[in-house]
């Protein structure tokens, strides 16, 4: 496994929608390098014949009757919105430019 570079961290921060200063990127790159090195040992034991476990207890699809249960009113749903108009969330522009 390759080491994690500063460019990697900058790209990951962009993917995760977290703005980072140059100083933060430097610090995070160093810390993640140490952590990634420490956890890389997992691939040593993970041979091809071992099945993956996604969940601690086997899950089966859970169905319910297709009836409306209790739901939030629009007012309740908007109670904590940073910005709203009428019965909707208001957001900044989706696209840049004109």
């Amino acid at each position: 496994m390759s080491a994690i570079s500063r460019e990697d961290v900058a790209h990951l921060a962009h993917l995760a929608h977290i703005e980072m200063s140059d100083a933060e990127l430097d610090k995070m790159t160093g810390e993640l390098g140490v952590i990634v090195e420490a956890i890389a040992s997992v691939s040593e034991v993970a041979s091809a014949d071992v099945p993956a476990t996604t969940h601690p207890i086997a899950l089966f699809n859970v169905f319910r009757e297709d009836v409306v249960g209790p739901t939030l009113t629009a007012e309740e749903a908007l109670l904590n919105a940073p910005d709203s108009v009428d019965t909707r969330f208001r957001v900044p522009a989706i696209l840049d430019g004109e």
């Binding site: 990951l12 929608h17 980072m20 040992s41 997992v42 034991v45 601690p56 207890i57």
Partner: protein
Amino acid sequence: MNEIIRYSATELAAKLRAGEITSVAAVQAHLDRIAEVDGGERGIHAFLHVNGEEALAVAAEVDAIRAAGGADAEALHPFAGVPIAIKDLIVTKGQPTTAASKMLEGWMSPYDATVITKIRAAKLPMLGKTNLDEFAMGSSTEHSAYGLTRNPWDLDRIPGGSGGGSAAAVAAFEAPLALGTDTGGSIRQPGAVTGTVGVKPTYGGVSRYGAIAMASSLDQIGPVTRTVLDSAYLHELIGGHDPADSTSLNEPVPALVEAAELGASGDMTGVRVGVIKELQGEGYEAGVQERFDESLEALRAAGAEIVEVSCPNFKYALGAYYLIMPSEVSSNLAKFDGVRFGTRVLPEEGPLTIERVMGATRAAGFGDEVKRRIILGTYALSAGYYDAYYGSAQKVRTLIQRDFDAAFELADVLISPTSPTVAFELGSKTGDPLAMYLNDVATIPANMAGVPGITVPGGLSEGLPVGIQFLAPVREDARLYRAGAALEKLLEDKWGGHLIDQAPELSAATTGGVA
């Protein structure tokens, strides 16, 4: 100190039912204690929000029902009127829920978690919301955006984490009961370092609906108390199937109180206790190992059959955990985008697009540890690394489950120290994330396999509590209560009382609070 706050929840409940104490008096005694030791310069700071008015109103309602007698009084839950504190990761109507993050500062949940609905139905007054590492990410409660929590045993040391607030509240007699959540040890490790009891139930045994998700395949809500029996009562109250959580087990809650009462005889005849070879020795403090060995001797003397078991893949558990957990974190925390709820921060310059607002919001709203885990998870899940990291970690999860299966062929319960060290000094590990992660080396395997675990006080090392952990097979939570109550009884007979009675006296003078 008011005697009321020294009672266990079970003792207090009995006095409330007998009419010796009113619930209003019990709640007020705890609110007074919170005022005295929680808020000062060197206060415990277990609470992020104190819910005095509502707690007193619920208490008054219980008192009125009891005073009137009749069918309504008969129908009350046995713990009605006993106050409880709630980890601030669990959503509550009428009180703010912050997850100890700036991202949710002032956020008011429009709904209650299922465990809160059950607590309201049983009429346990809620004292307030307790501190934690931001979004439950940490082992010391130092990653809270609202300040640290102090360990009642030594105000310069950590109370564990992430549920340091709940554990400290119970240890400092600010509450007889609390709720925690445990993703990699966040109930058990704080329990160990504060000399209290904490239980991580079987995955799915308690509904997660309304617990702000950190890592959904690992998270579990559980009880935080001072005695094993109190945990059993609280576990029975909050457990059971919930249609709102599709991972919740559709089966009845086991008879946990009965198991704790059986264990309280101290008799362990015929119980096979498996010592996990890999969870001791190197990395474990000598004082921790000594208390652990004494506990084994006590259990052996009480009739337990002590066997050694080997779980060779546990050494990969920490690595696999720090791939799976951050991967789930990066997905679960994507919803904090400044659109529908929580903080919104606008970029200082440049065009105002939603993407840039998200970037600025998440930069300002999340602390360093949360960012670190989101980035790590995004890395582990990214194309080219997925198989090597996330895929491998899931295979390790299978290997850990197989280790548990093999161990439980040889033993009814497994035992280990809960934490490799006693409480460390505040600030001593915040600069070294990896050193902080190692605190959970003994608790993480249980979350990876979904098995239940309990920590009970095992004595002191250099004046600080040591925790002893029992683990049981999935759905066999009752075994934890049997073994935990037995060890508690055996050790308390030796100590001549609860371990917590040996904790230093806290007062307004020591914490800078209100006398």
